[in-house]
Amino acid sequence: MTMTTSLGPYAAFILAAYAAAAVIVACLIAWVLLDRRHLLRQIAQIEAQGVTRRSERAREERP
């Protein structure tokens, strides 16, 4: 028995609902991961230009 026949006459609706949920979750995961990568890259760029936060400087100056 194939998956669609075991899901009955409304298999297309069931599969479409699960596919939609999977796409939405995939978009959320991609958003979180890509956003983090973008932010870390930008922070690294600005740090390379010699800009550091006060708390970072204080930690570096601490004996």
């Binding site: 009955g8 609902a17 949920a21 979180v32 956003d35 983090r36 922070i43 600005i46 800009v51």
Partner: protein, 241 residues
């Protein structure tokens, strides 16, 4: 660790770095268990196999509502205690809440068509959830419209608390009005009306989706803290030149 210690974004960053791998693993494990249970669950005697849509529709609806409640608690943190992490938590939650509410609406439409003969009806439950989705979009737009994050947080907090009035409307819409949407069947006086063979997989999916939400929210909070650090650094750079 007291709650006030968590007001330090650096501490939240460290906490998220430690806990995210564990939360991610727990989410995968929970989905594996819940997925098998949902797949093996019997068909409903009236709805047939379409009852499987419930295993994603109900958790998505629960998270859409839960996320607004979480944002409302964070709004109190912003307005009453000026808790910096409350702003971060609220901003990080909004897109995730919007996504789960959208998932609820889409899966509900795909469930409604074979069962009711319509993808959409303007009944109180469906309309109030659509309003919730539009409110999430408004919150996201508000965060983007006001440049200063502290001012944006206060405006969003007021909007969130006013919008929280929609939460009881969503919950009790099926009791207060005649709706095509079914009444409460999980959380109700007298216990759940769902048979154990379907209730257990449903609750397992709710746990799995909630873990997914917590993982995504913590990761999004970490990103928001980094975004604020970047903003500070850009301002320092601008001031130095």
């Amino acid at each position: 660790m007291t709650l006030i210690n968590l007001a330090n974004p650096s501490r939240v960053l460290r906490l998220s770095t430690l806990s995210l791998p564990w939360l991610t693993a727990a989410t995968f494990l929970a989905f594996a268990v819940a997925g098998v249970q949902a797949w093996l669950a019997p068909d409903d005697y009236q709805q047939g196999a379409t009852v499987k849509i419930m295993f994603i529709h109900v958790p998505a609806a629960w998270l859409g509502v839960f996320c607004w409640v979480l944002m409302s608690v964070a709004a109190l943190g912003t307005l009453v205690w000026r808790h910096p992490v409350a702003d971060v938590a609220a901003k990080a939650a909004a897109p995730i809440g919007a996504a789960f509410t959208l998932m609820c609406l889409v899966t509900g439409a795909l469930w409604g068509r074979p069962m009711w003969g319509a993808y959409w009806v303007w009944d109180a439950r469906l309309t109030s959830v659509l309003v919730l989705f539009l409110m999430y979009l408004a919150v996201i737009a508000l965060w983007r419209t006001i440049e200063d994050p502290t001012r944006a947080a206060r405006a969003v907090a007021v909007f969130t608390l006013v919008g929280a009035l929609n939460i009881p409307i969503i919950k009790f819409s099926v009791d207060w009005w005649n709706t095509l949407h079914q009444g409460a069947s999980v959380l109700r006086l007298g216990g759940s009306s769902i048979h154990q063979s379907i209730l257990v997989p449903l609750l397992a999916m709710v746990v799995a989706f909630t873990l997914l939400f917590l993982t995504l929210h913590l990761a999004a909070m970490r990103n928001e803290i980094l975004r604020r650090r970047l903003r500070t650094m850009l301002m320092m750079q601008a001031a130095a030149t």
